[in-house]
Symmetry: C2
Subunit: 851 residues, 2 copies
């Protein structure tokens, strides 16, 4: 036998061998751990990353010498071993060393059919991986000689018989596959560095086929928790007289693992082996601090452990496994928290299309609000409300949504639009409502008159047709797809409560309605960071009064309309305060341009003309006069508040009266939107303070409140020092700030954002991922300058980015007090914030442990 | 006689007396200069600012003692003397000291009517200025006794007879008038500091009335240049037997000054006095370094000089006077340059409504582009073109203009819109064309169908009616108002050539068309700083091809359309290069959203559908699909260039082929608009460089060009360091940058900008005056960061602010290389830049000299 120390870059895996995850890959390291635990692992050699890189470049170790390490005539397998198992890599190749001589030998020892199977398998692997022949070539061929002949006919070379050459060819093929462009792009997409290398392990084959007289032969995989739920459950497959994972595909006629009324089970067939597997599984869990799936082969009744990998798992299972490991004392709580990716949580909060189910997808759009919903297509808010009245779930379909569609959205279980991006009106509102949404589905054509939509393949769906909308993937599915329910179980609650103990930045929710506030409490937000008041005016009864207010020509008419809106607003705020039970509620004064409250189409205009008793022409003229070239940059926010101060007066009064009425001791926060100059704040503050004084006098009750500014123009960031003199808090609205910093409307960006991200103009859509370079600098500048004049100023982010882990990291680093995001992102934010705090404290295991 | 040195705060003006403009005011100082020159100035005392302030507070000098300085029985006048004559002040009061006794005495010496006139005048002054009685009280009363009785009836006091008390009362009234709120606001509006004080002069009256036997009596004013033109011309008025300026109002039956066929003249009546006045005038001009208007009184044939003030003058006269003074060696050239306010120049460049003429104004709007024009109202571009074809001047009236109205603007002599602000499309284009414009005239109602407009008073004007539009004041005038022609005479040319010698920052023009380029050369711009290419596509023949390009579904159709546009663009650029004769021309690649090129109304859509052979519905759908919520923030600029790169390819080719073809040796500058990320520049640069290489190969000619970036998003300022790595120049587009920094559309700001400026939210409209605090900081940041990575990067401003003196000061301080503005602002910018350079070199007379 050769001595392994003679071959540079090749190390035999023994308990004390110098194996490292970085040099030899995670599989090699994991096998060493199994060996140290005394598990029966076949003899295995590890080739380090440098050696494999050399192989790709043509510098080979002496493969004959390498094979000499194993007992004579041993077949070997080669498996990839990269630093992170998620990075992928070439497939495992089994049975290297098979040739005519060994075939003849094995035919005698284990019978001709078993020997044929082993040889056939190797010829196939070699032909496709090394000789790059079409896999179909041998499809209907089972005869070995015929296969070798076919191989020779294609390649002009006889099938190689020298095991050393076979091994060299396989090693080179695997090393080169790793360097291929598509493999590189794939692993980089999963976070691998550009210079990530591949290790390989060469393991002695244990034969899972043989004479049953010599005991049980077969191979299998086993795990001890459910991949779907993470709950304890022995699951896997076992097949007598088989070799390798691939043989274990469904339908291969496997045995049950545990005793089962439906048929034979390993537990009965080889009870000792089964017990041993359970013992090994428990040991792996304890020592490797993880739920592992074990690959094993039984050779003549003797158990061999070939490999072990982390159990694949859904997000839901991941939470359960991490929490159980912590509860069992296997890992500390902070490690359990760290093991769950924040983004993964959103899968748990919503219904999902069952990933196992067969579905018929007819179009795709942008996945704008996660979750899946099945319902009847409704092409107008009115139709949606009609379905809701009949308690039939429906999906609202609009070219794009406007504020007046919000009531239709409330009536729907999902929203579909053909235009707009990830931060379009439809997307933002849907996320706030926790409503699944697909937006910007430009593939579909909507025929509003016919109340029908047509998919890219011409299939047509009419109002009332049932479809399933998957807001997590952007898919639109024909009919009712099978859905999985959300999983806010005790494990989820435990994990988040641990996260709360660990994190050091606040998390609030953006919530406009009692329903959203209830969600916010359910997800344990520490208050409302952004309550947009405009949606409150879109209920049918209020909208008419709002329109009267807008059309009022005289101050007293306007006052009368506002007088009608006051009790409604007060009730809205009181309800929110009660739901939030004294937690802070930050209310943004009216923001959008007034014309958003007016009807856009002729029917709506006629209705309005009727309600107001005005000629249609006059209504039309007035609406046209309120129209703007760029409403985003027009008469809205504080500009409205200064031009028509009665509106903010009414809102402030409603807030303060609700504060007194609710009796919750809430300290309401009044936020001024779209500020660009100090004087705007000064003017509004003077009036709000005056209203507060009036309410104090009128009610005889004292109350506290805070007045602050929504910082969403670049100028407000630049001049934050003077603005902060009048503000107790600055809340950065990163949506609008991003729009203005880039000069880019979120509603219009959809037309080129795809191309821009693809061509690397923007590395990411800045509406999805906070632009740290540009917008981020303005945020930092605003925070620093604000604190310069007002060291106690409360800083927060309340845009769509508030729930994004990277943005939270940024805000935490800049010393912000809290982030605010839509209720359904609150758990994500709580977890992400905990991760940051844990990492900052120097937790060693910033990644899940090596497998 | 009293000794003057006994009275604190009162100084007799003698050649050596310690009189200062700061302490005693400019009138006192000027009088001392006249006395030093030996001019016959009556005895005069000066009260300093502190003394007058004391008087207002009730602390009086001893007025009896003060009057004792003058010969017994002398009447005196009191005149205001503030530090700057432009600050205004109380009116002069004459004849103090008149009472019944002196009246009787004078009646004997100069006759009863003359004595009556003097007394009557004083009673009136005292009654209105001191007793605050209604000026109408004595309207029809000429009898002295009756006047005194009326005075007593109103005040319950007899008319005061003590000269010392009279003087004290007058001094107090004048001191207090100065402190009044409206006087303070008025002078602060003219630049006076908050603590500006008033000096007073008390002068012995010289009687302009008396016995003609004793020689000529009378008073007058004379100046030696025309106030309208500044050319030498003796002008003024003289009235025998009169007293004070007020008597010299037109219609008072004055004499001619110079010999005149139409009647008697001072030159004949008192030739010695006339000669002496001419000598004194010349002396004043030399010693006071200014054209002065002299107030004089002739008493018994003896000339007395009472006062001298700077000649009032039009902007045109100001230029002529300054240039003549410099040419005559009276003042240096830099002082002449400094004496002309840059803003005053724009009056000279355009026709003006004659300020003396009576006009009937029916509405007002925003004065958006200076100059006046008379023409027939035209309510569409087509109508305007029809008038132009008949060579009838017309004024284009639109609710607001769109790019497709540009050809109508070319056909008009003025533009009127009902919507939009100072930087609306109509305003910007009109200024570029030098076309008078009034925009945002929200008082008028336009009835497009009836082709008529209605003013706020109900007067209605139809298409074809003649009106005059005054873009300098915003007035709309019924009919053809008398106009004054522009004055680009030799004095104007001299002044600007001196300014060019002095200034140290470049001035270029924004010019899109050959007409504008010609203007730019006429005003001696140093090149074109911004050539917007979009206007080139609005000619009728091109617009159709442009629309075909936009509607092209296949790349080859688009290429075919662009192939048609190429020669047209090439010819455009070649023409510009030839006009500019090798001076640099900076061409901005296509910027606006494509849908701006499409028709907005049904008729236009039907025409287009016909031209393209497409169904109307399809054209409508396509136009709707190109529509945007916020076009300003949408698919435009470099986004268009990256999404449809063939457009920029075509433009680059046209630029480079025109460079070769024009043979002017021009180094064209290619500017990329709306950049927000480095990679945008990288991508466009790669393609432009490739096109340049192709043109070099195809033509066999070498040429140089520069590629740069229009910095107009806040992000481009923040990331200027990385952007400058790929740019040879950065040109800051302050219009869009202001829009994005404030989150404020220039087209929509009109609705509240008035209220905002009024309430002090913005101290000035940031589209008119560069916002130094916010936008300015971004500019500074962009400039610094750009130079950090590219020290040779050329920096400029090409927005509307480019011609504003404050902005030029800012750019100069930040080390910018040039500013670019509309051609008609080029002279203003040249002069403003010279002012800055002169002041920086510490020129002592930063203001015109004391009068």
């Amino acid at each position: 036998m050769q001595k392994i120390s003679d071959i540079a870059g090749v190390t035999e895996i023994t308990p004390d061998a110098p194996i490292s995850g970085r040099q030899h890959g995670s599989r090699a390291k994991c096998l060493q751990r199994l060996i140290r635990m005394g598990l029966p692992v076949p003899q295995t050699l590890a080739l380090d990353v440098g050696t494999v890189r050399g192989i790709a470049a043509g510098q080979f170790p002496d493969t004959a010498q390498l094979l000499g390490v194993f007992p004579d005539g041993t077949l070997v397998s080669v498996r990839p071993s990269s630093a992170d198992p998620d990075w992928g890599g070439p497939g495992t190749v089994l049975n290297i060393g098979m040739n005519d001589a060994r075939h003849a030998d094995l035919s005698q020892r284990i019978g001709r059919p078993a020997a044929d199977a082993l040889y056939r398998r190797f010829i196939q692997s070699y032909a496709t991986e090394v000789a790059r022949l079409d896999a179909d070539l041998f499809q209907d061929e089972t005869d070995i000689a015929a296969m070798c002949a076919a191989f020779e006919a294609e390649t002009d070379d006889p099938f190689p018989q020298d095991p050393a050459r076979q091994l060299a060819d396989i090693l080179r093929a695997m090393a080169r596959a790793w360097e291929g462009t598509s493999a590189r792009l794939l692993r980089q997409a999963k976070g691998a560095p550009a210079d990530a290398g591949l290790g390989l392990v060469v393991q002695a084959m244990v034969l899972g086929v043989g004479d049953p007289a010599g005991g049980e032969y077969g191979s299998g995989v086993i795990q001890f928790v459910s991949s779907a739920t993470g709950l304890p459950q022995i699951t896997g497959r076992y097949l007598s007289q088989s070799q390798g994972r691939e043989a274990l595909l469904p339908g291969a006629g496997a045995l049950y693992l545990t005793r089962d009324a439906r048929g034979a089970a390993l537990e009965d067939l080889a009870p000792d082996v089964f017990d041993m597997l359970q013992t090994h599984g428990a040991a792996c869990r304890q020592r490797l601090r993880e739920e592992m799936q074990i690959e094993f082969t039984i050779q003549g009744g003797r158990l061999n452990i070939l490999d072990a990998v982390r159990v694949r798992r859904t997000s839901r299972a991941a939470v359960r496994i991490a929490v159980d490991l912590a509860d069992d004392g296997v890992i500390p709580r902070d490690e359990a928290v760290l093991r769950i990716l924040p983004r993964a949580l959103s899968d748990l909060l919503h219904r999902q299309v069952d990933p196992e189910a067969h579905t018929d997808s007819f179009a795709r759009g942008i996945a704008a609000s996660p979750g899946a919903a099945t319902g009847r297509l409704a092409f107008s808010a009115r139709a949606a409300q009609a379905y809701a009245a009949r308690e039939e779930p429906c999906i609202l379909v609009r070219r794009e949504t406007r504020p007046e569609d919000v009531r239709g959205m409330h009536a729907s279980v999902g929203v579909l639009t053909a235009r707009g991006g990830i931060t379009s009106h439809a997307a933002v509102i849907a996320r706030g409502l926790g409503l699944p949404a697909v937006v910007g589905a430009s593939q579909i054509t909507i025929d509003r008159k016919a109340r029908a939509l047509t998919g890219p393949d011409g299939r047509r769906f009419r109002e009332g047709d049932v479809v399933t909308l998957d807001g997590s993937t952007g898919r639109l599915i024909v009919g009712a797809a099978p859905l999985l329910e959300p999983a806010l179980d005790d494990a989820f609650q435990s994990l988040l409560s641990w996260a709360d103990d660990l994190r050091d930045i606040g998390v609030r929710a953006n919530a406009d309605t009692p329903a959203e506030a209830t969600q916010a409490r359910r997800f344990e937000a520490e208050g409302i960071g952004l309550c947009r008041t405009e949606h409150m005016f879109f209920e049918d009864d209020r909208l008419t009064v709002m329109r009267e207010m807008i059309f009022a020509e005289r101050t007293e008419d306007r006052a009368a309309a506002l007088e009608q809106l006051l009790p409604v607003q007060r009730a809205d705020f009181a309800a929110l305060f009660r739901i939030m039970r004294g937690q802070p509620v930050c209310i943004r004064l009216l923001d959008p341009p007034l014309h958003e409250f007016l009807p856009a189409d002729r029917t709506g205009m006629m209705d309005l003309a009727g309600a107001l008793g005005l000629p249609l022409a006059q209504v039309g003229e007035r609406i046209a006069a309120l129209g703007e070239f760029n409403p985003m940059l027009g008469m809205r926010g504080v500009r409205l508040g200064i031009a028509v101060p009665e509106i903010y007066d009414m809102q402030a009064r409603a807030i303060f009266e609700a504060t007194v009425e609710s009796g919750t001791g809430v300290v309401p926060e009044v936020m001024i939107p779209l500020v660009s100059a100090r004087r705007e704040v000064e003017l509004v503050k003077a009036r709000v303070d005056a209203v507060a004084a009036q309410v104090r006098t009128a009610t005889g009750e004292d109350f506290a409140y805070r007045l602050g500014v929504m910082v969403e123009t670049p100028r407000a960031c630049l001049r934050a020092d003077e603005i902060a003199e009048y503000a107790t808090f600055l809340s950065f609205g990163t949506n609008d700030l991003t729009q203005m910093t880039y000069g880019l409307s979120r509603d219009d960006a959809g037309r080129f954002m795809g191309a821009y991200v693809q061509q690397g103009v923007f590395t990411e859509d800045p509406f999805l991922r906070l632009d740290l370079d540009g917008v981020g600098e303005l945020l930092t500048m605003g925070a620093e300058r604000g604190r310069r004049t007002n060291p106690d100023v409360i800083l927060s982010v309340c845009g769509e980015h508030g729930g994004d882990p990277e943005s939270i990291a940024f805000c935490r680093a800049a010393g912000f007090d809290y982030v605010s995001c839509s209720p359904f992102r609150v758990p994500v934010a709580r977890l992400a914030a905990a991760h940051l705090a844990i990492r900052d404290r120097g937790f060693p295991g910033a990644k899940p442990p090596d497998r």
